[in-house]
């Protein structure tokens, strides 16, 4: 099955692949981002690459566009071996890339962006005239209408994406790589994009579509490859696979890590959220009316592919991002905007927050462990010697005790946070937040980048806190973690909750489908 071609869709079954990768490997330090990747994409087809975040998709594409140099392996374009040391070489090889984060010069017009780097001559005038003609033709051929004189900063994301496509086509790219192209698009814009891609395909262009949305893969691709943990685990014909199979391949079936977990004994409602909405700085709505509740003594797990609004949910509750809607903690309304919506006032209301990115939001990496263990709680009277001075001796002593209780290794409060391993850094953050016995613990990606031994310890501490009567809101992209820790599971997709399941009444396949936006109508 692996390496299967798609004769039904390929226009020239016997032709050389438009692009072929052989044994591509790339490591960053000790992390193997790509391991022995091989891939063949036939001309005139649309090939999908799916995989979770961190599976190595972006690294692979960066190698194809000359941003990274592969440690091993070779790239063939149209049957010819090529080396791609920089973007110029990729362009020459006929590869065009539409990045997830657009690479456009915002104060420039569409035309100026299109000709940048391919001006063919010292003066701009002829290049601009030529580009204007070409853009007109492309607009006609592919439904790619954009006002050539509009400034990028005045265009919406859908239009900006078209400009990126036009840039690639103007450079006569035959192979178009699109990285998560629909992430920022409305459904209508996404449909239009797919029409454009089908037009391009019918003109003989080869398209590689990187996404984690299985619906898109099923709708538009001819063949699909699955990446997991840096490896290409399967290549299939789209027509002969199913979303269920892809989800399984993507997430990877493994034995669940079983915890010593007593049944939950939920008590009164601690957290109530009604119709929570967040719009980010780019004007994209990240939370589209989320409502949920968590009771004392239970863990609500939020499953979902990264980037579907879970981060915003945590940030709103943690007092970092303003939002609209209603949030009540123990029945009392919480201020979601304004002066009293910050981390300090949230902590005063009994909310503790273990942020998703511990190195950026949870710790100050160059500060000592004992300093990190008091951040956010340094206003506490127990930390003050008098009105002006902090009682550092007491803080250090307390830090040393906490580090012993949380088995932080080495248990040295005078070591900078940077010098601990990922798991021990996370234990420092957890110790700080859990030891305050919060009414509500917000915890994001508790075990990301944490070694196996520490995972178990961290999971057990979260369960202990639940058993002690706290409410826990857990956000994780690891389904395994969600399934083993949660008492209830809510799945988030595109800023909305797709539904709620009990861990003993669902499985990874069903959750995986819900995570990619597929509705599964189960009572």
């Amino acid at each position: 099955m692996a390496g299967a071609e798609a004769p039904a869709a390929g226009r020239h079954p016997d032709a050389a692949p438009a692009i072929e990768l052989r044994g591509i490997s790339k490591a960053f330090g000790t992390v193997q981002a790509n391991r022995d990747i091989s891939l063949r994409v036939m001309p005139g087809t649309i090939h999908g690459i799916v995989g979770e975040n961190g599976a190595g998709k972006s690294t692979l594409m960066s190698i194809l566009y000359g941003f990274y140099k592969a440690d091993a392996g070779e790239i063939l374009v149209g049957g010819r071996r090529v080396t791609i040391p920089d973007s110029q070489a990729a362009i020459r090889a006929g590869i065009g890339m539409v990045f997830q984060h657009f690479k456009l010069v915002e104060p420039f017009t569409v035309l100026e962006n299109v000709i940048l780097g391919v001006e063919e001559g010292r003066l701009l005038k002829p290049a601009l005239a030529r580009a204007r003609d070409t853009l007109q033709r492309l607009a006609r051929d592919y439904e790619l209408n954009v006002d050539p004189d509009a400034r990028i900063e005045d265009l919406g994301v859908g239009m900006r994406q078209r400009v990126e496509l036009l840039k690639a086509l103007y450079r006569q790219a035959d192979i178009l790589i699109l990285d998560e192209p629909t992430g920022v698009l409305t459904p209508t814009e996404a449909d239009h994009l797919f029409r454009i891609l089908k037009n391009l395909k019918s003109e003989g262009k080869t398209i590689i579509l990187i996404t984690h949305k299985l619906r898109e893969i099923m709708a538009i691709t001819d063949t699909v490859s699955v990446m997991r943990r840096g490896e290409m685990t399967a290549t299939l014909e789209t027509a002969r696979t199913s979303p269920e199979q892809l989800a399984e391949l993507m997430v990877g079936r493994k034995v669940l890590l079983r915890l010593d977990k007593k049944p939950a004994t939920p008590d009164q409602t601690i957290l109530e959220i009604e119709n929570l909405r967040v719009t980010d700085d780019d004007g994209v709505e990240r939370l589209k009316g989320v409502s949920l509740s968590v009771r004392a003594g239970e863990i609500l797990g939020i499953a979902g592919v990264a980037g579907n609004g879970q981060s915003q949910l945590l940030e709103v509750l943690g007092g970092i991002t303003p939002a609209t809607g209603n949030v009540r903690v123990k029945g009392a309304e919480i201020d979601l905007t304004g002066r009293h919506s910050d981390g300090r006032s949230r902590r005063a209301r009994g909310i503790a927050h273990v942020p998703e990115d511990r190195q950026r939001e949870g710790l100050i990496m160059d500060f000592f462990a004992w300093e990190n263990l008091v951040f956010g709680y340094h206003h506490d009277p127990a930390c003050q010697r008098n009105r002006a001075l902090m009682d550092n001796a007491a803080i250090r002593a307390r830090a040393a005790e906490q580090m012993a209780r949380f088995d932080v290794r080495p248990p040295d409060p005078d070591l900078a946070a940077r010098n601990f391993s990922g798991g021990n850094q996370q234990k420092i953050v957890l110790a700080r937040e859990i030891e305050r016995n919060p009414d509500l613990l917000l915890v994001g990606q508790p075990t990301r980048g944490v070694d196996i031994g520490a995972i178990e310890f961290i999971h057990q501490r979260i369960l202990d806190l639940r058993d002690a009567g706290s409410a826990v809101l857990l956000v994780s992209v690891e389904l395994e973690e969600i399934l083993s820790l949660s008492d209830r599971i809510a799945v988030m997709f595109d800023g909305r909750l797709m539904g709620e399941r009990r861990p003993d009444q669902t499985d990874e396949t069903e959750l995986g489908l819900m995570m990619t936006g597929m509705r599964t109508e189960v009572a």
Binding site: M97, F99, G117, L124, K167
Partner: protein, 322 residues
């Protein structure tokens, strides 16, 4: 008090004083449009002033002096480029370091070479830029109004002054009509866009920094070999910083830069002309008049003159991501 001849004199002086500011301002424009903040305009001008004066004094040729001034400024520009482009250091610190280096080095070398208390000998004859008379200047002089304007204001300046003013349309043309300008503006706004378009970010930024070096070199040489006759300690007197203020005032546009530097030049000219001005019988202190351009600088830098949006990638070293 303000007759026509006086106004002409002040304006003439304005042109002379604005020219080095304009050159430095355009120098900063090239650099900052490419995303490299350059607080070291002052140091580059000072270094150029010294080496041009020293070379002109020794060789007797102002042109060799100019070349030496440009070369000295280019060396400092190279240092700034190395620090901020190649080694991705902090551009402000690199600029400050260049200013200190120039302030100290010029005086020390001057003392060592000429032993005149940190100055160069006074420049005479061919060691200075001479004022040139434009064609027909003397012929049209008797024509009322226009005659004196042409003869006194437009004609009778040195070559660097004419060069400075002709750089304004040239800069505009380079930035907006050529491939080089497109790439230069792109690298200051979004280096990743230029990089993915297959153009070298490093080379484009070095080119901009080099142009900045040349223009600062000419500005410095002008100070020592045209405006004055020789180098004196700290003779740039903050002109590099005034040029930066003018650049912000001009919102990084060449024609605006012309008006901004003319305004500063006018203030300097007024300060020179009216050293003991009286308003309502109260004499204004000389120091206040001398401080006018600097006061305006502070006002502008404090942001009282509307919001100026600098190039988006300004001041940030480019690190390839993903």
């Amino acid at each position: 008090m303000m007759d026509f001849a006086t106004i002409l004199q002040v304006l003439d002086s304005t042109v002379r004083l604005a020219a080095p500011l304009l050159l430095a301002c355009l120098a900063g424009l090239f650099s900052e449009r490419a995303g490299i903040f350059d607080i070291g305009l002052e140091g580059k001008m000072l270094m150029a002033a010294f080496f041009s004066a020293a070379t002109a004094a020794v060789t007797g040729s102002v042109w060799l002096g100019l070349a030496a001034g440009i070369a000295a400024s280019m060396v400092l520009a190279g240092v700034h480029g190395l620090a901020s482009i190649t080694f991705r250091g902090n551009q402000l610190i690199s600029g400050v370091a260049i200013n200190f280096l120039a302030a100290g080095l010029t005086v020390v070398i001057a003392q060592d070479w000429f032993a005149q208390g940190g100055r160069t000998p006074s420049l005479l004859g061919g060691a200075r830029f001479e004022a040139i008379t434009l064609p027909l200047a003397d012929t049209v002089r008797p024509v009322p109004i226009l005659g004196p304007i042409y003869h006194d204001l437009i004609s009778g300046h040195t070559i660097p002054v004419y060069f400075a003013f002709s750089m304004v349309p040239l800069t505009w043309w380079l930035l907006y009509r050529t491939r080089f300008g497109l790439r230069l503006r792109a690298v200051g706004e979004s280096p990743e866009a230029l990089d993915t378009a297959g153009v070298s970010v490093v080379a484009t930024r070095y080119a901009a920094v080099a142009i900045c070096g040349v223009l600062c070199g000419i500005a410095g040489a002008y100070l020592a070999t045209a405006l004055q006759a020789g180098f004196t300690k700290d003779m740039t007197a903050g002109r590099g910083y005034i040029a930066l203020a003018a650049l912000i005032f001009a919102k990084w546009r060449s024609w605006h830069a012309l008006w901004a530097t003319l305004l500063f030049g006018l203030l300097q000219a007024i300060a020179l002309r009216y050293q003991n001005l009286q308003i309502g019988g109260v004499p204004l202190p000389v120091q206040l008049m001398d401080a006018l351009p600097y006061i305006l600088t502070v006002v502008i830098l404090a942001g009282f003159v509307g919001r100026a949006i600098p190039p988006r990638a300004g001041g940030e070293p480019y690190v390839k991501e993903r």
